[in-house]
Amino acid sequence: MCLGLFTGSVDKLTAAGIILGGAAANDMKVDIYVLLQGARAFRKDIGDNPDKLQMSENPAMKEEFLQSLKNLKVKTWVEFFKEAREIADVKIHICGLAGKIWGAEKLEDFIDIADDICGISAYITSAQEADVNLFI
């Protein structure tokens, strides 16, 4: 599976995490390409801090959404990504340009689950080879 992760919206990141969990449980090999807003969310100082993430489609519902996740004991998006990486062959690639846009140039600037920094060609060839393609 190849996932283009463009979003920096906390609900979509959560959805991506849940989908990733399902893929990992089914032993799918997953390559995630973190693009634009996604690269900002992956910054070490942002990640799991919901105060620094927006909810793009329905901002007014953000607090209610986060509270509901808490009540239902749903993991945070970063926890989902971490767990999927432990279970299956999941690789996380950060778009180099996206990182630069948000002031993060080195791999150490991102949360410790990022595998490498790459360019667009890596994403496109991976997308061409994958049997499942998602763009979130």
Binding site: I18, G21, G22, A24, A25, N26, D27, L72, K73, V74, K75, E83, I87
Partner: protein, 83 residues
């Protein structure tokens, strides 16, 4: 298996995933299946309605044998045999 057979099944591993939401029970099952032998029976306890559909589908994909589901009060017991 019939409900009676499921109740008497020789379960070697119980995965209590009642405290987790989707896809928690599936991930717990995935982790636990590696700890049992081929032919062993495992039960997954889940309070998440979706797990009733997810686990049988997962079994088909992975080659495990889905044995059936018992409904308890407020949760499900889902049985499978490792391939």
């Amino acid at each position: 298996m019939t409900p009676e057979e499921l109740k008497n099944a020789n379960v070697v591993k119980t995965v209590d995933a009642r405290g987790t939401a989707c896809p928690g029970p599936l991930l717990e099952a995935k982790k636990a299946i590696g700890t049992i032998k081929a032919g062993d029976i495992m039960e997954v306890l889940s309070a998440d309605e979706g797990t009733k559909v997810d686990i049988p589908k997962w079994c088909t994909k992975q080659g495990h044998e889905y044995l059936g589901t018992l409904e308890e009060s407020g949760y499900f017991k889902i049985y499978l045999r490792k391939k």
